[in-house]
């Protein structure tokens, strides 16, 4: 028993004094080693002891083993933590250095999403001029002069000198239409590209035209003097209203998620017949999101197509509106503020 007391004192003191992991492991072998450990030896000798002594020494020796193991483990953990503190030169808990990451404008990102979805459905992406002729912006789209239907599009007109006509390259096609007016304006929608594209291409085709458009109107939280539209046009021998619905269902599900609910209802745009509008259900409300319809025969005629041979659908959507709904943006003017506190959020 006295042996055991002495061993306990000796062992615990040695563990306490130990300065590194290596020494600690040596102590573990010295006292608890399977072959020659000092305590192991005592435990092993229990069998040969008289019953009386065994009853006394046995529990004490086992208790010591447990105590010693615990002391070794505790000390070992302590040493490991201390050794870390000593080895590391850099305080990795300091904040990370900021990397200069840029941000694409939210409208660029939304336009890209829209383009990707339509490209996945085999739509080609084209562009067109922002300064347009009255012919393509209105006349060719069955929006007659001096008719209040034209008031749906408040227009910025360009001051024109005698020589000031639009880029001649763009005019060659319209000249064939015996243009009387070549009055220039800032396009009020992306729809002029319908006729421009059809003049140069044969159906069947399906295209989208993203781009900036302009309206002469007072600005407020939901109106801007310039904004972005994406025009769509699909023409073929049999392209019908059911096809339009299919394409739109797919598009909105990909843009807003599978569960999005659409509502189709009648509307009027002079260049489509039938004309429709699409609403989406968002946070319990129906929100207007797109104007569309089947291409009006007059528009086919303006592009020198035979309307009896062809059918098609056209649609237009506002990028700002989509972004405002999807990202909960309260004011359209934020898009044109150039405010980095806005831009860098996306």
């Amino acid at each position: 028993m006295a042996n055991l007391e002495q061993l306990k004192k000796q062992a615990l003191e040695a563990v306490k004094q130990s300065k590194d992991i290596k020494n600690l492991e040596e102590l573990r072998v010295r006292f608890l080693g399977r072959e020659k450990g000092e305590l192991t030896k005592i435990l092993r000798s229990l069998g040969a002891m008289p019953l009386e002594e065994k009853k006394k020494v046995g529990p004490a020796a086992n208790a010591l083993r447990a105590e010693l193991e615990q002391a070794l483990d505790k000390k070992s953990a302590e040493l490991r933590v201390n050794s870390l503190k000593f080895e590391v030169g850099l305080d990795i808990t300091m904040p990370g250095t900021k990397v200069g990451v840029g941000h694409l404008h939210l409208l660029t990102q939304v336009e890209k999403q829209v383009r990707e979805i339509f490209k996945a459905m085999n739509f080609s992406v084209i562009t067109g001029p922002e300064a347009e002729t009255e012919k393509y912006n209105f006349d060719a789209l069955n929006i007659p002069k001096d008719h209040p239907a034209r008031d749906m599009w408040d227009t910025f007109w360009l001051r024109q000198n005698e020589q000031l006509t639009i880029n001649k390259k763009l005019l060659t096609e319209s000249k064939k239409l015996k243009v009387k007016s070549e009055k220039l304006l800032m396009r009020t929608h992306t729809s002029p590209m319908q006729v421009r594209f059809m003049e140069k291409h044969k159906p069947p085709f399906q295209i989208i035209v993203p781009g900036r458009v302009f309206r002469f109107e007072a600005t407020d939280a939901s109106h801007e003097i310039n904004f972005y539209q994406v025009e769509g046009l699909m023409v073929g021998r049999d392209v019908n209203l059911a096809n339009f619905k299919f394409v739109m269902n797919e598009f909105f599900q990909r843009l807003f998620g599978k569960g999005i609910k659409l509502r189709y209802r009648p509307s009027y745009f002079p260049f489509v017949e039938p004309g429709l509008e699409i609403d989406i259900e968002w946070k319990g409300k129906w929100l207007e999101i797109m104007g569309a319809g089947m291409v009006h025969p007059r528009v086919f005629e303006a592009a020198h197509y035979n309307p009896r041979d062809l059918q098609g659908f056209a649609f237009g959507l506002g990028l700002e509106r989509i972004a405002m709904i999807k990202y909960n943006i309260p004011d359209i003017r934020l898009f044109y503020s150039g405010d980095l506190r806005f831009i860098k959020q996306f």
Partner: protein, 662 residues
């Protein structure tokens, strides 16, 4: 346009309330909002004023939607007194006034209108005046035909519908005075204009409490003429708004009969001829509205909609809408000015059957490759690169002020002068932007309250007036604020060009005075053939700011995306650093060019690795350290070879640039 729910329901009785009606009208007909208190706001499509800018027209839609019958109280004909005789009517301009109907009404008792009539007017936002004027307005609401009543005793001679004469004036009922011109149509008596046709009545023949005899007018006017006159006079009224949208002349007769019946009932008036012979109102209607006959081609309608309607259900629908079968063709009701072709018929079919219930079917098309405009791929590539380089993208307005226009170094993008708007919204946006710079400079200033180091770019169309007209160009501009910004933007341009595949370009001094670039710290960016691609340099008015702007369309023509593998160097390189002291007036560009060209076979790369100015060097001197990398393609270069090159270089640096070796 406001509508009374009660009147709609009176005309088309059925089992529906405001809520259900609003929902159904939105789904099948047009945008409708329930304003509460029995008032509906209907946004009347521009092509449907003739039929649905009236309670009767809306009621017809309602009767088709709910499959109910229209009330027949409208078909009551008024009684006429053939002994009455009133003023004559002469229509001089039959193109601008296709139909003019007038009735002389005597024994009118002017007084207040009954409550039911006042209520409907109020629902629709019209103030009650007296029973005669109220009947005119009520009939307009009910039938959609604007009406007018003249005090017949105030007329001098008969009615003439003609263009105004130069110098003629009129004072309208509300006391406004207008000078008329010869494009404006007027209703006149033998002396003076009594009303601006289709727009507003005049004071001189106004119906008052004392009025005994009236002349009731229902007429049809040319829409374009009313539109133009209304704009010219700056006078838009309920009447002009309706006429400018093209009304059917058929409404004239319906409205006249309705008005006369109501006047008899509400003003105990006795109606009769104006100058006719049979006791009926005068009706000048020389050229009748032409009959529209359309084929109801079920196959074509189904092909357009993508559904299988049967002929019978279509025939049912069009009968309910008032179409009449004539032989094999269907006659379009006169009031439906919007229906002219098969597509119009298809719309009726589709909307009444509910777009939401129609099928959605994938289109069957030949597989082709979806293309993307070159411009768009380029924009994607450039914006991706700039984002990676830490730039954030801004969108600015396409419009700038007169002061901002023309600030661009002259002729840099080929335009001669900026393009002006005819009708700008403000002086701040009177011109089309001829450069992206004004917008980005504003962004720098505005954001400097919150950010110190900024990197911003924009891509967009800029405009200029060139010899061939309005020139529209896709441009890129980027700005940096912070230390060393000008050289950073120069480095950015270089990396961008390399990335895009433009390997060779020049950056000579700009040498043009600019409003916003620091003179002497601006470069032109051009192709080896001296095609100007853009410019870059330090900003004059923004501390530590720099800008570059590039014509992306020109750039697109120059870039070559073909790349070819270049063998990785086989032999090791030798690096040598040279430090020199030169006068501040000596620029680094020429030294670099010299170092590159001195021994093209052996010099692989040259870099400026250190630069400083210090009073210890002398006030007018600067120290430059270049690292030159020598490498040979065919053998391992030896130190003596490199030493020999360095010796030559040192000699020339001393001779040519007056450099002091350090």
């Amino acid at each position: 346009m406001k509508f009374s729910f009660n009147l709609i329901k009176k005309l088309a009785p059925g089992q529906y309330d405001e809520k259900l009606l609003t929902e159904k009208l939105n789904l099948h007909s047009f945008e409708t909002t329930d304003l509460g208190n029995g008032v509906l706001d209907i946004s009347v499509p521009a092509n449907r004023f003739s039929d649905i800018a009236s309670h009767l027209g809306v009621a017809l839609e309602v009767s088709v939607i709910f499959k109910t019958k229209l009330s027949d109280f409208l078909s009551k004909m008024p009684k006429f007194d053939s002994k009455l005789s009133g003023p004559s009517v002469e229509v001089q301009d039959k193109n601008l006034c296709p139909r003019y109907m007038a009735a002389f009404v005597s024994g009118v008792k002017v007084g207040p209108s009954p409550k039911w009539l006042k209520d409907i007017l109020e629902d629709c936002g019209i103030r009650s005046i007296n029973n005669v004027v109220d009947v005119m307005n009520y009939v307009m609401l009910e039938i959609g035909q604007p009406m007018h009543a003249f005090d017949a005793d105030k007329l001098k001679g008969g009615i003439v519908v003609r263009k105004a004469k130069k110098g003629e004036k009129i004072e309208t009922i509300d006391g406004q005075k207008f000078d008329l011109d010869s494009d404006t149509l007027v209703i006149a008596d033998s002396k003076q204009p009594l009303a601006i046709a289709g727009i507003k009545g005049g004071k001189s023949s106004e119906v008052t409490d004392k009025t005994k005899n009236i002349l009731v007018e229902a007429a049809n006017f040319n829409g374009v003429n009313i539109y133009k006159s209304s704009r010219r006079l700056g006078l838009r009224t309920d009447a002009s708004n309706r006429f400018m949208h093209d009304l059917s002349p058929a409404l004239v007769e319906m409205a006249m009969h309705r008005a006369l019946a109501l006047l008899r009932e509400l003003a105990t008036a006795n109606a009769g001829q104006a100058d006719g012979k049979d006791g009926k109102p005068t009706d000048v209607y020389p050229k009748k509205q032409s009959k529209k006959l359309l084929e109801l081609n079920t196959g074509k309608i189904n092909k357009l909609i993508g559904y299988d309607f049967n002929e019978k259900e279509l025939a049912d629908l069009f009968s309910r809408l008032g179409f009449k079968l004539e032989g094999k063709l269907w006659q379009v009701p006169e009031w439906r000015m919007d229906i002219n072709n098969l597509e119009d018929l298809a719309e009726e079919v589709a909307r009444f059957s509910d777009y939401n219930k129609l099928p959605a079917l994938p289109p069957a098309v030949a597989l082709g490759v979806a293309e993307e405009a070159e411009e768009i791929s380029l924009v994607d590539k450039v914006s991706g690169f700039l984002k990676g380089a830490g730039f954030s993208e801004s969108y600015n307005y396409s419009f700038i002020s007169k002061e901002e226009a023309g600030a661009l170094p002259k002729g840099i993008f080929g335009a001669e002068k900026p393009v002006e708007l005819l009708n700008p919204i403000s002086n701040q946006s009177a011109y089309l932007r001829d450069s992206l710079a004004p917008g980005l400079l504003r962004n720098l200033k505005d954001n400097s309250r919150f950010y110190s180091d900024m990197k911003i770019f924009e891509m967009g169309k800029i405009f200029g007036e060139g010899r061939s007209g309005v020139k529209e160009t896709l441009a890129l501009s980027a700005v940096i604020s912070g230390k060393n910004s000008a050289l950073e933007i120069k480095g950015l341009a270089d990396s961008l060009f390399t990335q895009l595949g433009l390997t060779e370009y020049l950056t000579p001094d700009l040498n043009i005075v600019s409003d916003f670039l620091k003179s002497g710290e601006a470069l032109r960016i051009e192709t080896p053939e001296h095609q100007v691609l853009g410019y870059l340099g330090s900003l004059k008015d923004f501390k530590n700011g720099a800008i570059m702007e590039i014509d992306l369309e020109k750039l697109l023509k120059e870039v070559d995306e073909e790349r070819e593998f270049e063998p990785i160097a086989k032999y090791p390189a030798i690096e040598r650093d040279i430090s020199i002291l030169v006068s501040k007036s000596v620029r680094t560009g020429p030294i670099l060019n010299f170092l590159y060209s001195v021994s093209p076979k052996l010099v692989e790369d040259v870099d400026l690795i250190d630069y400083y100015e210090d009073s210890k060097l002398g006030a007018n001197h600067k120290s430059l350290t270049f690292r030159i990398v020598f490498r040979s393609e065919d053998h391992t270069l030896t130190d003596p070879e490199a030493d020999r090159e360095i010796a030559i270089i040192n000699q020339i640096l001393t001779d040519k640039f007056n450099a002091e070796l350090r």
